[in-house]
């Protein structure tokens, strides 16, 4: 009787994940069809079946909208998984890729290229990725140097401190070079505007790797919710996994930021929204957060490019405007956000 109960729970979780996957596909099709030029769903289906080759509509779908949308899917997945990993091991509800310095590091590196080496704009994605990883590394070293017992707290604190220093340096660079203020500001807000298959190709290996690692080790992330000490006493090499997880989430968020700029909020709210539906078991939470992140990002990007056309808003603005109230709604509707602390 109770055994059936447990199986039902599993079934329920899997059905929510399937539902999210279907919603994502619907959102992608909706996004493909909307824009300055409306494209009929029947035409999109025709194109996917291999028809309408080399027509104007075919060109828009396969070379303009599809790469942008799929890049958005991957960016959403990366940010969401990065967030869920960090919230899991740091046991901190406001943990997100920001906390390990990804945004601040990438931002500083990107703005430095824009202001100091304006001729090398192509180099921005790599610099941003590198900046993100370096910032994480710096925070990690600072945090683990100080103590091992409470290093999760130290990571959060070191993260806040390092991020604010890097953020200040970024602002200083921007003010001293006001000619690039507009592009640097828009980069810092995050945008998928004009992203092509090149961006997609840059990010997919990291998404695949990150997704693979996160799903494999998701049962171990559950153990971190017991506290580092208890996790250690049931045989988890906590130091190894903490390092692996922070590195993975830095690579995920860093690669996302490098193609889309610093998009805030997705890494924070996608995991929380997912948690409200299926609880804290990371075996299910990781895939559902990934799907939620992708849905949120694609939906936001569609709105960003269509709301005030021909002017495009930054997608980061929409994720916050759309995500914030949705988050608050969930918060009040479902009582409270569930997190381990």
């Amino acid at each position: 009787m109770k055994e059936i109960n447990l199986k039902n729970r599993k079934k329920y979780k899997l059905s929510i994940i399937s539902a999210a996957l279907i919603i994502l596909i619907i959102v992608i099709i909706f996004s493909l069809s909307t824009g300055t030029i409306e494209i009929k769903i029947s035409e999109i289906i025709e194109i996917f079946r291999g028809g309408l080759k080399n027509t104007f509509v075919w060109h828009i779908v396969t070379n303009v909208r599809l790469p942008r949308i799929l890049t958005g899917v991957l960016v959403g997945i990366n940010l969401a998984i990065s967030g869920v990993l960090l919230q899991g091991i740091l046991r901190n509800p406001i943990a997100s890729p920001n906390i390990i310095g990804v945004n601040a590091g990438a931002g500083l590196a990107a703005v430095a290229i824009m202001t100091l080496f304006p001729g090398k704009m192509n180099f921005i994605p790599f610099a941003a990725f590198g900046g993100a990883l370096l910032a994480t590394l710096l925070i990690y070293i600072l945090a683990t140097r100080s103590s091992s017992a409470s290093s999760t707290v130290h990571i959060v604190l070191a993260g806040v401190a390092v991020s604010s220093i890097l953020g200040a340096l970024t602002s200083a660079l921007m003010m001293l070079n006001s000619d690039v203020l507009e592009i640097s500001y828009s980069w810092l807000q995050g945008s998928l505007s004009g992203r092509s298959w090149t961006s997609f190709k840059m990010i997919w290996p990291y998404t695949l790797l990150g997704l693979f690692i996160s799903i494999i080790i998701s049962p171990k992330i559950n153990l971190f919710s017991l506290g580092d000490e208890m996790a250690g006493s049931i045989g988890l090499p906590t130091k190894f996994y903490r390092t692996l997880i922070i590195l993975t989430s830095s690579i995920l968020a860093g690669s996302a930021v490098s193609v889309a700029g610093t998009i805030g909020f997705v890494g924070l709210i996608a995991p929380h929204a997912a948690r409200l539906f299926i609880g804290n078991d990371h075996r299910y939470l990781v895939p559902l957060s990934a799907l939620f992140g992708a849905i949120l990002l694609v939906l936001s990007d569609t709105l960003a490019r269509t709301l005030f056309q021909p002017i495009e808003l930054s997608v980061g603005i929409i994720t916050s405007i759309l995500g914030g109230p949705f988050f608050l709604f969930l918060l009040y509707k479902k009582g409270k956000i569930q997190i381990n602390k």
Binding site: K2, L6, I216, P219, L223, L226, M230, S233, N280
Partner: protein, 280 residues
């Protein structure tokens, strides 16, 4: 089974444990008692392998603890800390199932044997009626039973407990003591536990280790260790150690700093003693 041979431990420059000798054999309940900061919890953590200790100081089944990896230790020693993280979004079953982690590479699949042990632990701790409930919804006493079920699922010969009854009401305290006794009587588990309440330690222990400033002040059976003198020396407080009719174990009744001369036969020449008594 588990032994400390001349164990020292320091946090930075501060030495916490000095030359600690401890032996735990099969089916024994051993209590660690002592004032706050005397090193009981640190000793427990050293024994559990969670703290980095010098080589060849702790022996598990006659092999140095540092020759085991963390998974192998987790198959032999279960440890329950005093403070638990507040958990939510996990069911009782999920939590108990985590105890099987040392026997797994990935943690994705549970074998039939795992499921049997998990079900047994849940039944044994009488928590099956709420095994599908969110851990967050439980009361403190129920939650402690869930944690014990989890370390039972870990299926280890040795169990280390850090103040397992603190913050419980009287009934739950004595329930928990009963559970610990049964671990010994029914399954020959070795239990090493930190207690704050000396009476709890007397009630269930085979041996007591009384710690003072990181050293063992005295060790032996409860009757040997818990005396009015030792309580005064270590806890710096006066107490009666008495036997109440029909009750086979001694009971410690603290009386504070009052009138020590009338109640105790220790040496008034002790300078510390004069200082302490003037404090009142």
């Amino acid at each position: 089974m588990l032994e400390a041979r001349g164990l020292n431990f320091s946090y930075g420059k501060k030495q916490i444990l000095k030359n600690v000798q401890l032996t735990a054999d099969k089916g024994q309940i051993i209590s660690l008692i002592g004032p706050n900061g005397s090193g009981k919890s640190t000793l427990l953590r050293c024994l559990s392998g969670l703290l980095p200790v010098e080589k060849n100081k702790i022996y598990l089944f006659d092999k140095s603890l540092d020759s085991f990896n963390s998974k192998d230790i987790a198959k032999k020693i279960a440890f329950l800390p005093q403070f638990h993280e507040k958990l939510s979004g996990l069911t009782v079953y999920d939590l108990v199932a985590m105890g099987r982690m040392p026997y797994h590479r990935s943690g994705w699949v549970y074998t039939a044997k795992d499921k049997d042990i998990i079900d047994w632990a849940i039944d044994y701790m009488k928590i099956s009626e709420f095994k599908n409930r969110d851990v967050q919804m439980l009361s403190g006493g129920e939650r402690q039973r869930v944690w014990i079920a989890m370390i039972l699922a870990q299926d280890t010969p040795i169990i280390l407990l850090d103040e397992p009854v603190t913050y419980m009401d009287l009934k739950h305290q004595w329930n928990m003591l009963e559970i610990i006794k049964n671990l010994k009587n029914n399954f020959q588990k070795t239990v090493i536990s930190v207690f704050h309440d000396i009476n709890h330690a007397i009630e269930i222990s085979d041996y007591i280790y009384l710690l003072e400033n990181g050293s063992i002040y005295n060790t032996g059976t409860p009757e040997e260790v818990i005396t009015e003198k030792s309580i005064h020396d270590v806890f710096e407080i006066n107490a009666h150690v008495c036997k109440i009719n029909r009750c086979c174990k001694s009971v410690v009744v603290p009386v504070g700093f009052y009138k020590p001369q009338e109640m105790f036969s220790f040496h008034p020449s002790n300078e510390n003693y004069k200082e302490k008594t003037s404090l009142k």
